[in-house]
């Protein structure tokens, strides 16, 4: 069947690309993942723009111009954090991380594939949510697109680090509960959909230094006003360093 001579690894870019495709398909095919990464953000976008159930201070801007960046930030959080934490924790429990680490992909390639898979899903989210928002009359500031990309990348780094920290240290069932709970709490009170400044009392101060508040703020500044918001981006970078260092130290490959 096989002759053992001449065996070897495929080139690293091909391995990582294969893993990226594999991860992306896994997320987009999983019903629950699709629900939190695409369906819920779309529903939220439409509901927040078309109804006034939630009061928003828009300072003269249209509702969709305020809501769309926030929903994009939420979508990034759902993919980079909740979906990734759950998927990785179950892969860890089922030995998938161990098995793939024995193939030429290795641990580094596995991580790279996961991060690129998250970015690929985010591209799908931006296309779908951006399309719906544009149809609802969204007019993003084109000069802020570069700043928005920076914000999405830093937000992804911070939230993916958080996801891996949870997934690599806690039981899969616990991660499932915590990742969903954190998503809901941050969506409501984390300054991601509603600007941190609009939250009541001390919550406003707390939310602005959370990664959720910082990502929401950075995206609103970029897409509403075309501004690169240094403060929120620094907050995201800080979380990335802290959570990334913790994940690198504490992550366990097998349960």
């Amino acid at each position: 069947m096989s002759s053992p001579t001449g065996a070897g690894a495929a080139p690293a870019p091909r391995r990582v690309l294969a893993q990226t495709r594999f991860e992306t398909r896994a997320i987009l095919r999983n019903g629950e993942q699709l629900l939190i990464t695409l369906i819920l953000p779309v529903l939220l976008l439409v509901a927040l723009v078309r109804t006034t159930v939630v009061g928003l201070t828009t300072d003269g801007a249209t509702r969709v111009d305020v809501v769309a960046p926030g929903v994009l930030a939420l979508a990034v959080m759902s993919t980079a954090f909740t979906s990734q934490a759950i998927a990785t924790s179950f892969d860890r429990r089922n030995g998938v991380l161990r098995l793939l680490a024995t193939t030429p992909l290795g641990r580094g390639g596995l991580l790279a594939g996961k991060v690129l898979g998250v970015l690929a899903v985010e591209v799908v989210q931006v296309v779908v949510l951006g399309g719906v928002a544009l149809a609802l009359g969204w007019q993003p500031d084109p000069s802020g697109i570069g700043a928005a990309v920076v914000a999405v990348l830093l937000g992804t780094a911070a939230f993916t680090s958080f996801a891996l920290l949870l997934a690599g240290t806690l039981r899969a069932e616990a991660v499932l509960a915590i990742a969903n709970l954190v998503l809901v709490v941050l969506a409501v009170a984390g300054g991601i959909l509603v600007p941190a400044g609009a939250l009541p009392g001390p919550l406003a101060a707390v939310a602005s230094v959370l990664p959720s508040g910082a990502l929401g703020e950075a995206l609103r500044a970029a897409l509403q006003d075309g501004v690169l918001a240094g403060g929120p981006l620094a907050v995201l970078a800080g979380w990335t360093v802290v959570l990334g260092a913790l994940a690198a130290r504490l992550f366990r490959w097998s349960s």
Binding site: P4, G8, R15, N94, G95, T102, P104
Partner: protein, 311 residues
């Protein structure tokens, strides 16, 4: 000529696997089999001692070893949402020159469940998929942890055939197993591990021979007076029933009634001994209703080595 393909030393445990041979690692639960194998796979780092796989240290040279070593984990390690054929293609893409995926899938009968998600597969189906993943990259060395657990006889046969072919291709195969018949029919060498060290090793034939070759069992009425039987087996004749007491006579044979009505003769067994037994039975008006001559099995040797207590 011997070439050392893999060599692991963990807590005084020496394991040498040769190219083109199947080495079975046997041991009770908790004996240290999986831990040892995981050190060789680079999934665990030993706290002391030396591990060399294909001449390299798996802890520091993992990148060089991964393309050359195939691994089938005990818990499978399969992503539950993936589909078998897609997963096989995916893992094949990690290697420069993988085997033909379609042909491998066909060999292991993956076609019948190629598009069913891993979550819905039976234990035996998952095992077959995990085995395919372990060999798809043309490894020089394969670790198989309990390869045929949960398989039906047909699947097991397919797996055994594949392992035989890997061996013929010069691959070193290391398998851990609880199934003694699997080890007996597949393995060239057997290493019995208990409490983290090797307690016996060698070719299967040697191991069976060194623990005496045959046994003779017979069933008859319970509570026979075995006086003189053992002695008569050695001499080949039937000495008159003497006044000697005690059921187990001296000499090279011993006779035990292991359970009421079941008797086991240990010692050298040949046709003369069998004839002597029936002659003794005739002289004592005993009609055995079953007489069997059996080779020792690997299982009985294993139990003798590791004890019969539950772990």
């Amino acid at each position: 000529m011997k070439r050392y393909d893999g060599r692991a030393v963990v807590d005084g445990l020496d394991l040498v696997a040769e190219r083109g041979a199947v080495t079975a690692v046997l041991g009770p639960n908790g004996a240290g089999k999986t831990t040892t194998v995981e050190c060789c796979e680079g999934l665990r780092s030993p706290d002391g001692g030396r591990v060399r796989v294909l001449g390299l240290d798996p802890a520091t040279r993992a990148r060089d070893l991964r393309p050359r070593v195939g691994v089938m984990l005990q818990d499978g390690g399969l992503p539950t949402g993936a589909r078998p054929l897609e997963l096989l293609h995916h893992v094949a893409a990690m290697y420069a020159r993988p085997v033909d995926v379609a042909a491998l899938a066909e060999r292991l009968g993956l076609g019948s469940f190629a598009r069913t998600s891993v979550r819905r597969l039976s234990g035996g189906q998952r095992q077959r998929l995990a085995l395919a993943l372990a060999v798809v990259g043309r490894p020089e060395l394969v670790f198989l942890d309990e390869p045929s657990a949960g398989m039906d006889p047909q699947a097991r046969r397919a797996v055994w055939d594949l392992v035989g072919e890997l061996r013929a291709d010069g691959v070193a195969v290391v398998l851990t197993t609880h199934l003694m018949d699997e080890a007996e029919s597949l393995a060239d060498r057997v290493v019995v591990v208990d409490h983290g060290r090797v307690i016996a090793e060698g070719a299967v034939r040697e191991l069976l021979r060194s623990h005496d070759d045959r046994t003779l069992r017979f069933s008859a009425a319970p509570g026979l007076t075995l006086t003189g039987l053992a002695a008569s087996l050695g001499g080949g004749g039937v000495p008159p029933a003497s006044g000697a007491h005690g059921e187990h006579a001296a000499g090279e044979h011993a006779v035990h009634e292991v359970t009421p009505g079941d008797y086991v003769v240990t010692g050298h067994v040949d046709p003369h001994v069998l004839a002597a037994l029936t002659t003794w039975c005739a002289a004592h008006d005993v009609l055995p209703y079953a007489i069997t001559v059996g080779r020792r099995t690997l299982e009985s040797v294993f139990l003798d080595l590791t004890g019969r207590d539950l772990r």
